[in-house]
Structures are given as C-alpha cells and as structure tokens.
C-alpha cells in the first residue's frame, strides 16, 4: 500500500485533524507520505515529519496561496498516478471534502466519507462509518485504485513519531477552470469561538439551569474548554437562548468529541441530536434522568456547585 495523507494548514500551522489521520495511517503499517500544498509552506514539511510522514511532497506556488479546492485537485491528480499512490486520506473539512470529491471525479476513484476507522482486513482495505443518524455502523470498501477516504474529525489522535522526512518539491500544473474562483476575502479565526457544527467541544444547557441567567455557567465552561454553547428545545422555547444553538430532533445534529450536558434530562428528542458525540458527560440532580442511560459519565449533583468548580479546574490546567 502506498498511502498519501493530505495535510491541511492554516496560518502557518498544520491542522491537528490532518495530523491525526497521519497517525492512523501509520497504524496500517508501511510507509506513509504526506502532501502539503500552499504558498511559502516548505517550512511545514518538517512538522509533518515529526508526526510520522516518511516523505513529504510540497506543492509551493502562489496560485495555491488561498485555501481553494480545485487547484489542489489538479496537484493530486498529477501526483497520484506519477508516484503510484494507491490510497489517499483526508481529515474532513470544508476544504478537503471539496478536494476529495473533485479528485474522485477526476480520477474515477472511489471515495468513502465520514469514516471513523480504517483497517486492513485480509488484504482488503475496509473503512467503518456511522450512518442513519449514527444508529448503524457500515463497513465500506473500494473497488479499484486509488482509494480515497475522508475521516470524521476527532476520530483519532495525532501520534508523535519524530523522523527526518524526505522532502520533495513538486511542480504545479493547473487547469484553466481550476483557477477561475478567486478568494477576495479570507476567513480569520472567529472571535466568539466555534459554531456548534464545527466545535470539538460543546457544553449544552437545559431546563435544569433554572433560568436564563444561569447560562453564564455554561458559557464560562465552554470558553475554558475552547468549545461552543448549545441549548435544548425547552430552553429555546422559553426564550433563554437562541434557536441557532438548539440541538435535537428539531434543531441541529452535532458530533463533537466532547458533549457536556448541564441540567438536561435527555429525552429522545434531544438525544438524536447529539448521540454521535465521542464522549458524553451529563450533570443533573435527577438520578432518573434518561440522559444517564446513555452518557459515558453521569454525575448526579447540583450543577450550580459542580460547573463553576469544573470550569476553574479546566482553567488551571490550561494555564
């Protein structure tokens, strides 16, 4: 197997999720290469080596400066057949979803997405992905090569395995249509923290908070954890928090790494919006709350006591 991992970068740093996929690729055994595409990005190649890439292809070109997908498809479409790469892995982001899908069309290559795992089973590469609102798991595969895969964010952790990577600069040849889209303004880090759809960590508040003023507890904890604030239908109905933060059957579906439910009973209408979260922690004073049936950690106690102390501990650790 010759595996290539697409490494995404932002403001001079390689993205953690890309590096996590690199770590996963290493588990499959064998050598793993990486691709970094951008402008003035040669320096990032060394970082890739720290996380286990054997060879790092660098496509460094002013035309690749902005994080636009179509030029990257051109780069990959040339690199893959030239180097005989048979497997290309991406950590799913807005950018990489477009790159991977464009590449699938360009090379008539199979693409499986939303994977949470990948393994070699009797010589076949098998991906695992949740489906149907995370109620089933599906084993998926590829017929033919190259095999393209998009991994759900937060599925793995980066693995530091320092090595001196071989760096190979590659030429970029771009199609006319690929450079027609121009980025006029580029996004900067949001000052208010991530939206709940993108957040790695979500702290959600429910009726157990007692009143809208107590959402401050939830906000403080979310801030300390670098996460987003979400709300249940009941509190949104009552006007305590905006509908854009509602998680559940009639709100948003989220799959963060960590979901902390504060004062939420967890009826199924809420559960279906967050049951795909990696780790669920629930804090509620009612020991019979349904959420305790599916949380990973259930804390029966007074949230007014627990949450501020928890926030403080998290802040201390970060410091």
């Amino acid at each position: 197997m010759t595996i290539l991992v697409f490494l995404e970068h932002h403001e001079g740093e390689l993205q953690k999720d890309s590096l996590s996929v690199l770590g996963k690729a290493l588990q499959l055994g064998g050598d793993v290469d990486a691709l970094i595409a951008g402008s003035g990005v040669e320096g990032l190649a060394v970082q890739a080596g720290k996380y286990g890439a054997k060879k790092v292809y660098v496509a460094d070109d002013p035309a690749l400066e902005k994080p636009l997908p179509q030029p990257r498809v051109d780069v990959l479409a040339k690199l893959i057949p030239e180097q005989g790469i048979d497997t290309v892995l991406f950590a799913a982001t807005v950018l990489t979803a477009d790159v991977a899908a464009g590449l699938a069309a360009r090379l008539d290559a199979g693409l499986n997405w939303d994977l949470v795992d990948l393994a070699d089973q009797d010589g076949k590469l098998v991906g695992k992905r949740p489906a149907l609102g995370d109620t089933v798991y599906v084993d998926v595969g590829w017929t033919g090569e190259p095999r393209l895969a998009l991994f759900r964010t937060g599925a793995f952790d980066p693995v530091e395995s320092p090595a001196e990577p071989e760096v190979q600069k590659i030429e970029t040849q771009l199609e006319d249509f690929s450079t027609q889209a121009k980025m006029i303004e580029q996004a900067h880090e949001e000052s208010e923290g991530p939206s709940i759809e993108d957040a790695d960590v979500i702290v959600a508040g429910g009726r157990g908070l007692g009143g809208p003023e107590n959402f401050a507890l939830v906000e403080d904890l979310a801030k300390a954890l670098g996460g987003a604030v979400a709300a249940t239908r009941a509190v949104v109905d009552a006007g305590w928090y905006p509908y854009s933060t509602q998680v559940g059957q009639t709100g948003k579906t989220v799959t963060p790494r960590l979901y902390i439910a504060v004062g939420i009973s967890g009826a199924i209408q809420h559960k279906v919006g967050m049951q795909g979260s990696n780790v669920i922690v629930a804090i509620n004073k009612d020991p019979n709350a349904p959420i305790f049936e599916y949380a990973d950690l259930g804390v029966v106690g007074d949230l007014h006591e627990i949450v501020p102390k928890l926030t403080e501990l998290v802040r201390q650790r970060a410091a």
């Binding site: 636009l68 997908p69 179509q70 498809v73 982001t93 807005v94 950018l95 979803a97 477009d98 991977a100 899908a101 699938a104 069309a105 008539d108 290559a109 199979g110 693409l111 499986n112 997405w113 939303d114 098998v126 489906a131 109620t135 089933v136 798991y137 599906v138 084993d139 998926v140 595969g141 590829w142 017929t143 249509f177 027609q180 889209a181 121009k182 006029i184 303004e185 580029q186 996004a187 900067h188 880090e189 949001e190 993108d198 960590l258 990696n278 780790v279 020991p287 599916y294 949380a295 990973d296 950690l297 259930g298 804390v299 029966v300 106690g301 006591e305 627990i306 928890l310 403080e312 650790r317």
Partner: protein
C-alpha cells in the same frame, strides 16, 4: 439566465438499511431532500419575477421520485428533468456524478446549485465531483449569494469564519442551509405543479455508457451493516463535593481534554 438545481429525493422517515441489499431502504414515502429546498429557494430568489430566467430541477433517481420533485415545481421552479434508469441503481459518487454531469451539460445552465448535504448519506460531496466533470469553477458552503454581470459571489462558511469567493459564470455553487428559509408552496403552486413540464430521461438518452453506470460505474462498495459499538456502561458519580475533580480525571482518561 438559466439556473439548474441538482436535487435528490430521499426517504421521508424511519431511515433503515435493507439488510439484504445493504442499501438504504427507499421503499417508504419519499420527499425532496430538505437541504435541496434551500437551493431551490435560492434559485427562485435569483430568478425573482424575471420572465427570462428559468429554474430547472435535475435529479437522479427512480421514476416515482417525480412525485417528490413536484414540490420544487409547486414552490415555483419551471421544469423537472429526472434521470431514471434501472441500470443506474447502486450508483456511488463516481457513477452518480457522471450521470448528473451529463444531464447538466445537456441543460447548459449558467448557474448550477446544490444543497448542503444529502439527508440520507450525509454526504457533502456531490457538487465538487460534478463541478470537476463540468470543468466549472466551484463555490461551496455559501451562506449568502449574489449574481451580477456574468459573475457570482458567495460568502462561504468555513471552520475559521467566512471567506468571500468570486467566480465567473458559468459556475457551480453549493448553498448551506443558513442561506435562506425555503418558502411554503402556495395552493395555486401545488395545483399548478402537475401541469409544468416533467421530463424523464434514461442514461442512454444522456449518452452514459454502460461502464459508467450503476455498480459498473461505481468504485466503492458496502460490505456489512451492524450495530454501532456499544457506548459501554455509564459511569455514575454521586457528587460528594469531589465531582469536578473526578470529571477532569475522566476526561483526561478519555483524552477528551
């Protein structure tokens, strides 16, 4: 201006996978993919009252999808083109994008719109594949869209905030569900929908060769379906004052901090 909206018809509810075919059970009631309703709405807004603009729906699916696609006509779209063919069954991204691209080439629309994701496969990938096959510039995750003077400008939602991207027409744009609130069809619209042109074409009509169709044209497969891994027992803590520390320990243990 001609705007083509690429839409999918998905099962209405109780999504389950047929254990025999390992494909989504599409036997129940069907509906227009809710995310595609945003794309239809945006197309209708761009059309405005313009008599010289046309909104055509292009979809790939079984014949009975026509009923669900009529919702778009009821909202105000002008025409539906359904690519329906038994040999298309089992198409994955590679095969579907091929067929859709052929159908869209036939339409020669200035603007091709997609919705945010497919409700059934949770995929947010079709537009990029189609844009590549059409060899057109692509703007995705658009939360605000303006068209002027032969170009299109979109405010694109990313993990880092909003980009603004501009591209010349003809272009492919995928809208996010934040872009608009789809209109309810009026009764007049619903009743008039049946009279609007609804065309069904086969893969052969589009010139899609057998090796690009259905399973033959696909490059992925499904091996098995199973239960998600059990979450495991819930660890219970009754707070005695030490809960915050125990929570932190737990999070560290689970690498969630």
């Amino acid at each position: 201006m001609k705007i083509a909206v690429c839409a999918k018809v998905v099962p209405e509810q109780a999504r389950r996978i047929d254990p025999e075919t390992k494909r989504l059970d599409r036997s129940g009631e069907q509906t227009l993919n809710p995310f595609d309703a945003n794309a239809v709405e945006e197309a209708l807004r761009l059309k405005g009252d313009g008599a010289d603009a046309e909104v055509v729906l292009v979809s790939l699916g079984p014949e009975r999808s026509i009923d669900a696609l009529r919702k778009a006509l009821a909202m105000g779209a002008d025409r539906v083109v359904l690519v329906s063919d038994d040999t298309a069954s089992g198409s994955d991204l590679v095969a579907s994008s091929y067929a859709l691209a052929k159908a869209l080439e036939r339409e020669q629309a200035e603007l091709v719109l997609f919705g945010q994701q497919a409700n059934d496969s949770d995929g947010a990938v079709m537009w990029a594949a189609v844009a590549d096959r059409l060899r057109r510039p692509l703007i995705s995750q658009v939360a605000e869209l303006t068209v002027s003077d032969g170009s299109v400008r979109g405010k694109r939602q990313t993990e880092f905030g909003y980009d603004v991207i501009e591209a010349p027409l003809p272009a492919v744009v995928a809208v996010s569900d934040a872009i608009n609130e789809p209109r309810y069809p009026s009764l007049k619209g619903i009743m008039g929908a049946k009279k609007k042109p609804q065309e069904t074409v086969s893969l052969a009509d589009l010139g899609v060769e057998a090796e690009h169709a259905g399973e033959a044209g696909s490059r992925t497969e499904v091996y098995a379906i199973g239960e998600p891994p059990p979450r495991g027992e819930t660890q219970r803590i009754d707070d005695d004052g030490s809960a915050p520390e125990k929570i932190v320990d737990f999070l560290l243990e689970r690498k969630a901090l």
